[in-house]
């Protein structure tokens, strides 16, 4: 578990569920509707970064459940195979929960960036293979890697605030 030293108060579950669902839905809308609308790409893994943020704050177990649900939402609204996103999200959530963090606001950013890139890339490759398409390293890879970095750096500072609100 990745609680800060000294913070042993349990998570306030109803509040955590509410904040996490609203945040993930917002991240989903930003990724699929807002980014394409302002000329950026839907390949930017905003949802995965949000899953990692909650996983850092709430731990591997809750992170895996949130990742599973977020992936399921992505699956159900995309042309991919149902379950691929859920699998990716659950593995990502549990892995991100194991990242060690300290009090620096961007602590763990490198690991989160790497995990998000792996998750987003892995999900696309798995979907392509399942649909019988040869995966190609296209312009989407640029959006995944660059977008994951920007999103991670933008979202991680909210960790301290979330920790204060949810515990």
């Amino acid at each position: 578990m990745t609680t800060l030293a000294g913070t042993t108060r349990p998570v306030h579950m109803p509040r955590a569920v509410l904040v996490a669902s609203v945040s993930l839905l917002l991240a989903f809308l930003v990724q699929t509707a807002v980014l394409p609308a302002i000329g950026l790409s839907a390949a930017v893994p905003v949802v995965w970064c949000m899953v990692c943020l909650f996983s850092l704050v709430l731990g591997s177990r809750v992170g895996a459940v949130l990742g599973f649900l977020a992936g399921l939402l992505l699956d159900l609204t995309s042309s991919g195979v149902l379950g691929v996103g859920a699998l990716t999200g659950c593995l990502l959530g549990s892995a991100a929960g194991a990242v060690r963090t300290d009090r620096w606001i961007w602590s763990g950013a490198g690991w989160i960036w790497l995990l998000v890139c792996l998750a987003a890339g892995g999900m696309q490759v798995a979907n392509d293979l399942a649909l019988g398409i040869t995966p190609v390293l296209g312009v989407a890879a640029f959006w995944v890697v660059g977008g994951a970095l920007v999103c991670t750096l933008a979202l991680l500072p909210a960790r301290a605030w979330l920790q204060a609100v949810l515990r």
Partner: protein, 239 residues
């Protein structure tokens, strides 16, 4: 720690079960139900943020049918077709797949296989219809395959998508075809299939591949950038 591992194992097994179930059954009812909730949210988000960036436009214009008509007039539609004008509200341009959601659907007369036009020519076909939204597979999607003809030689071929941002590959049937860079590519069309009429512009030949052994391969740039689609016109049925 053990509980965490148990939860992860259960979720992984559940995901694998979902994958197997989807590959075997491909049931779209659940997905349609979720999308009927999500699409209006995506539409609202798109409407709010459309004024910023490349799709710059006033929010009032978005909901004003008059503005749509003006925008749609830039799109050349063949005579003799009923049309529906829509707007791209969500993109699923992940990996090599290229599909977008538009905010017109079965209520406006859309059917599977309908041709979707943007300024310049054909950009895709309707693959999924819901009451007030539809999914359009762009011609750059690797699963997209459309009969094509290269002008002026009238040589026939098949236009296959190769992924977002990549050129469309035209496999020309005739190995001795007299084609050159810069020539126009149009749809073949067919009387059998009411989906895509003949002679819609698909793009311009950008490169030729002389190495291929059976037939020739021409690479075509689509008529418009697939990542910045906005207003589209769907040809719903011949009048």
């Amino acid at each position: 720690m053990t509980r965490t591992r148990n939860v992860v194992v259960i979720l992984v097994v559940a995901s694998l079960a979902l994958i197997l179930w989807d590959l075997r059954a491909s049931d779209t009812a659940l997905s349609a139900a979720v999308q009927s909730v999500v699409t209006p949210l995506q539409r609202t988000a798109t409407a709010v943020f459309a004024p910023f960036g490349a799709w710059a436009r006033e929010v009032e214009q978005f909901s004003d049918p008059g503005a749509r008509t003006v925008d749609a007039q830039r799109i050349d539609t063949p005579a003799g077709w009923k049309t529906a004008t829509g707007r791209v509200v969500a993109a699923d341009i992940s990996g090599s797949r290229a599909e977008v959601t538009v905010d017109v659907g079965g209520a406006s007369g859309l059917r599977r296989g309908n041709a979707v036009l943007a300024p310049g020519g054909l950009v895709g076909t309707v693959v999924e219809v819901r009451p007030d939204a539809a999914v359009v597979r762009l011609i750059t999607d690797p699963r997209s395959s459309i009969g094509a003809r290269i002008l002026p030689s009238q040589e026939m071929g098949v236009a296959n998508g190769t992924g977002v941002g990549s050129a469309v590959r035209i496999d020309v049937l005739n190995p001795a075809a007299d084609i050159a860079v810069g020539q126009n590519v149009v749809t073949l069309g067919s009387a059998q299939r009411d989906g895509i009429p003949a002679d819609l512009r698909l793009g311009t030949v950008g490169a030729l591949d002389r190495q291929s052994t059976s037939g020739r391969t021409a690479w075509t740039q689509p008529v418009t950038a697939m990542t910045s689609l906005d207003t589209v016109v769907v040809l719903t049925e011949p009048t």
